[in-house]
């Protein structure tokens, strides 16, 4: 397997007036061709910002990449000019946004929105070829092509997300970034969409970054998992490491303790005390130490490094230094 994407020490800040919000604080990971990585974390963990940085879609005025590299197919995306980036975005990297209600244009028929991507990126962009491909794509995502002249408000939420997916996969991208693709959908529709995404992903053989707050989705579809907290990947490993491994970052333990399990009937949840850290005022040392019951002196002063506790399984916590454990 070859390495498709390598992100190294990515740091992103948003400035709002006087405050500087440190949204991503040194994220590093790599994605092999054909792999599916799940990024899990709560609101404000930096999942979406990481994705937007890869896509080069950070808001111009407020968002800034402070440091790091994003190597995609041997090129650092952060050094590309906007013109070159446009050739990558939409064709080699596709993105599925969270809210299908707002990510489609309400005044352009959906078929034309799918055609737009092809017009800019497809090799054969003759009218007939594009038309044929639009029908083919709509069929792939389960939308009758005869509805392509309708507008987004005429479709249900699940159908709209299918259209967004058709746009994202139109040029057979090497990498697909899905930002909470099913959060706005009902469970039975979510199951339909997830199954369809898996089939399509296998068919066009693309790698995927799946951003979600739902550990259930990760367990069902991902190969690797990155648990994010306060703009850092606090734990990284295969799904087996994360869901069946013995040792975890204290935040991962807290996250699992917070979700009611459908298959067991434990009477009480064990939530993480306290609130999410404020990105404009991050604590010194480990960003989780204020909520962590294992926190010690070192945790208050020094930001921990990532320690490898198994093959490819890393944890960013002082307690795991030199083969330690919780």
């Amino acid at each position: 397997m070859s390495e498709l994407l390598k992100v190294d020490d990515l740091r992103v800040e948003y400035s709002s007036g006087t405050a500087i919000n440190k949204a991503v604080n040194g994220v590093s990971f790599s994605l092999m061709a054909g792999e599916n990585i799940g990024f899990v974390g709560e609101t404000g963990a930096g999942k979406t910002t990481t994705a937007l940085s890869i896509m080069g879609l950070l808001p111009n005025e407020t968002g800034k990449v402070r440091s790091g590299t994003i190597i995609f197919q041997g090129r650092d995306l952060l050094t590309l000019r906007e013109q070159e980036m446009r050739k990558v975005r939409g064709s080699q990297i596709g993105m599925i946004f969270q809210d299908p209600m707002t990510s489609l244009n309400p005044v352009i028929p959906v078929g034309n929105q799918v055609a737009e991507v092809l017009k800019y990126h497809a090799e054969d962009n003759s009218k007939e070829a594009i038309n044929k491909r639009v029908d083919e794509l709509l069929n792939m995502v389960g939308i009758p092509p005869k509805r392509k002249n309708e507008f987004s408000h005429q479709f249900s939420g699940g159908m709209r997300q299918r259209i967004v997916i058709a746009i994202a996969i139109a040029c057979n991208p090497l990498l697909l970034i899905a930002d909470e693709p099913t959060t706005a959908l009902d469970v039975t529709i979510q199951a339909q969409v997830l199954e369809m995404m898996e089939e399509l992903r296998k068919k066009i053989n693309t790698s995927m970054i799946m951003i979600t707050h739902d550990l259930g989705i990760v367990a069902q579809v991902c190969d690797k998992v990155a648990i994010m907290y306060s703009g850092e990947i606090v734990e990284f490993g295969s799904v087996e490491d994360i869901f069946e491994g013995e040792q975890h970052h204290p935040y991962t333990v807290g996250l699992f303790g917070s979700i009611p399990d459908l298959t067991s009937s434990a009477k009480r949840l064990t939530p993480i005390p306290g609130q999410m850290t404020d990105p404009s005022n991050l604590p010194e040392g480990c960003k989780f130490h204020l909520r962590c019951k294992h926190s010690g002196e070192e945790c208050e002063k020094l930001s921990p490094a990532s320690y490898e506790i198994g093959e490819g399984h890393t944890v960013k916590c002082h307690k795991f230094k030199q083969g330690g454990a919780l």
């Binding site: 199951a191 339909q192 550990l215 990760v218 087996e240 869901f243 917070s258 009611p260 009937s265 999410m276």
Partner: protein, 316 residues
């Protein structure tokens, strides 16, 4: 069996639309026992929120009755109705939208006390507000802050304090944790369960999240397009679901462990319709894998397949 605190029988709520009458709640009968929780689950548009609101008479019903401690609340008027309303409260879904942005935390919590003239002097009201803040674990330093300064979890605590202010017996919780992150959601769920134990509250817990419902409920009702298709104790419903919709719903949930990986799920075809002037028979039939001609021939009555387990399906 004891007399339930709230008995909902054959409750109907139809809305008029230009396309015909929309059967938001259609012939729903459920009981809520004292100090226990009835979970109501279903997807968007199944009528679960309308059910919650009609049970509290926040909207007037089209038919049926709701007995609160044996009294039909739709027959009450004036002072008597206001008396009953104190006993029945609601917690709303969105803590960002359900609070008045121009009132401080203490003013929000005092509002129900002022409206109902509970206290004649300021001092005892203030101490009641402080006591409520303590109950919902809001630190006194938030007394004079405004909702926009707080995160979702703390705002939802204000919503809970408001609902508790008049010492109710019954609270309808309309998706109280769905706007919250999981770690905060767990804190609020624990708080609600503690309050139930301490104060003997009965909840009607409306949610689309089956794992949350299973966690907090004693009894569960599953709704589909305005009808209650299955009702049983939480234990029974999750271990032995009988209605095909309940089964599909349970199967559709991605569980956070690797056991379900690569398993073929029962994927429902199609989407939830709209119950405008619905045809007779089972409303799930168009999506049901086992549907037969009989399913849509005439309306289907709920049958008791084992004690306390009701299913609305003719194939059981």
């Amino acid at each position: 069996m004891k007399e339930p605190l709230v008995r909902v029988s054959n409750l109907k709520k139809y809305f008029k639309t230009p396309m015909g009458s929309l059967h938001a709640v259609d012939d729903v009968s459920v009981d809520i026992q004292r100090s226990s929780t009835l979970g109501v689950v279903g997807e968007s548009g199944c009528g679960k929120s309308t059910l919650g609101r009609t049970v509290l008479r926040l909207v007037e019903p089209t038919g049926g009755e709701v007995l609160f401690e044996g009294e039909n609340i739709f027959k009450l008027k004036g002072a008597k109705l206001r008396e009953v309303r104190k006993e029945m409260q609601i917690i709303f879904q969105d803590p960002y939208a359900s609070l008045n942005p121009r009132l401080t935390v203490s003013e929000q919590i005092a509002e129900p006390l002022i409206v109902n003239n509970v206290f004649s002097d300021r001092q005892s009201m203030r101490s009641k507000v402080m006591q409520l803040m303590e109950v919902v674990e809001l630190s006194p330093r938030f007394t004079h802050v405004y909702p926009h300064e707080l995160d979702g979890g703390r705002r939802q605590r204000i919503g809970i304090a408001r609902a508790l202010a008049l010492d109710p017996k019954f609270i309808v919780c309309d998706e109280p944790v769905s706007a919250l992150d999981v770690s905060v959601q767990a804190q609020i769920l624990n708080l609600m369960m503690d309050l139930q134990d301490e104060m003997g509250l009965a909840y009607m817990f409306v949610s689309h999240d089956l794992s949350v419902v299973r966690h907090i409920s004693h009894e569960v009702a599953v709704m589909y397009l305005g009808q209650c298709v299955e009702r049983a104790s939480a234990e029974e419903l999750f271990s032995n679901p009988r209605h095909p919709y309940t089964r599909a719903l349970l199967d559709a949930i991605p569980v956070p462990n690797l056991s379900g990986r690569g398993k073929t799920r029962m994927i429902l075809e199609g989407e939830v319709g709209v119950p405008i002037a619905p045809p007779p028979g089972c409303r799930f039939a168009p999506r049901c894998p086992n549907a037969k001609a009989d399913c849509t021939a005439s309306d289907i009555a709920a049958q008791e397949c084992s004690p306390g387990h009701f299913v609305k399906c003719i194939n059981i």
